[in-house]
Each structure stands twice: as C-alpha cells, then as structure tokens.
Amino acid sequence: MQEREFEELLWKARNKDKKAVFEIIEMYRPLLLKYAKSNGKFDEDLYQELVCAVLKSIIKFPMKTEEHNNLYIKY
C-alpha cells in the first residue's frame, strides 16, 4: 500500500468509516494474532482486547499537522 493511500485510509478510519477501520484491522491481523496468544494458545478474549487497542490507536495516533490539514481539505 502506498503511503498516501494509507494516510487517507487512516483519515477515513478516524472519521468513523467502517470499511476503512476494517481494512486497518485486516492489515494488522498478523500482528494481532501473534500477540493474541496465552500459554501458546489463541485467546479469543485477548484478541478482542487487541482489536479495541487498534480502534483506540486509530483515534489517538498523533497525525502530523501538515498531512492532517491536507487530508482535512481533501475530505
């Protein structure tokens, strides 16, 4: 994925675009699956917690002002 595309995707996700949110979660699924293991077994509850962490990160991630402004003008 191109950087610009990702920034747009992130921006859309921050603006509660469900499709964009799902796409970001899909992008980081391997990372989530890697961490969602408890005693070597997949932990469904932990996975859900990690998905929540992704959602929080989308909102809290400090985007650079210049990019933020450009995207704000665009959308």
Binding site: E3, E7, Y35, S38, L46, L50, A53, S57, F61, K64
Partner: protein, 147 residues
C-alpha cells in the same frame, strides 16, 4: 518526501505495536490476578467441610443457650436397663445437668448459665444425682462409669 511518507506508516505501526504489547501485558496481569484469587471446587469443598464442624458446635451452643438440650442422647448411650430406669425417674432439671456435664462436657458455671441456676447449685445437683444413682444401683464408686 518518500522518506517522510514511509515514516508515517512506520510510526503508526510502531505506535500500534506498543499499544498492542501494553494491552497484552495488562490483560495477562489482570488474568494472573484473577487466578491468584480463584478457589478451586475442591478447596471450596474442603472449606465447607472444615466449617461444618464449627457450624455444628455453634448450633449446639445455640441450642443449649435456648434451653434445647437433647436428653434422649444421654438415654441412648446407656446400655444398662436398671441405670436407664433410674435415670428416667429423675426430674428434667437433674437430667439436663447430667446431659450438659457428661455429653456436652460443660463446666458447672456454663451449666448454671444454660439452665438458669448458679454454678454452685449446678455442681451440687450433679453430685447429688451421681450419689443417688450409686445408691440406687447399690454399687461402689465405679457405678458412674456405666454412663
């Protein structure tokens, strides 16, 4: 320009990775705390069984306090018919004193409190009853051991 763009996605990935790592650590800590305070069914049952004895003692004390003394328990333990006949001829007060002293192993003060007389009177009553039993049985000092 390319470098800066790459940095954005890398930054988000790093941000997300630390968030995910922290969430995992917190989740594991919470889980281990819960496990520390968890009681298995076996442990729970052991506690209940252990407390069962305390409960029975408490209920027995409660019954004694309210004057509910099971004199039948005393009669059930007597194997000698003659002795049983003598015991049944005693008044309720005498039987209660005997019961509390022999079955419940109470002190004379406790017996006095349970049936509303002084400790000294309870003691006198008890020894009078024992003396009467020995006299009725027409035996020596060993007669009391049948109870």
């Amino acid at each position: 320009m390319d470098k800066q763009k790459r940095t954005t996605i890398d930054e988000f990935s790093a941000y997300l990775q630390s968030a995910v790592r922290n969430t995992t650590i917190n989740y594991m800590n919470d889980k281990s705390k819960i496990k520390e305070h968890e009681i298995t069914l076996e442990e729970d049952l052991e506690n209940v069984e252990g407390r069962g004895i305390e409960w029975n003692e408490m209920m027995e004390a409660h019954d004694i306090f309210w004057g509910k003394i099971d004199t039948e328990k005393l009669f059930a333990q007597v194997t000698d018919n003659k002795l049983l006949h003598i015991l049944k001829s005693f008044s309720a007060l005498h039987i209660k004193v005997l019961c509390l002293r022999i079955l419940y192993e109470k002190t004379f003060d406790e017996i006095g409190m349970a049936i509303g007389i002084s400790g000294k009177k309870a003691e006198n009553t008890y020894y009078n009853v024992i003396k009467k039993i020995r006299r009725e049985l027409g035996e020596g000092k060993d007669a009391g051991k049948r109870i």
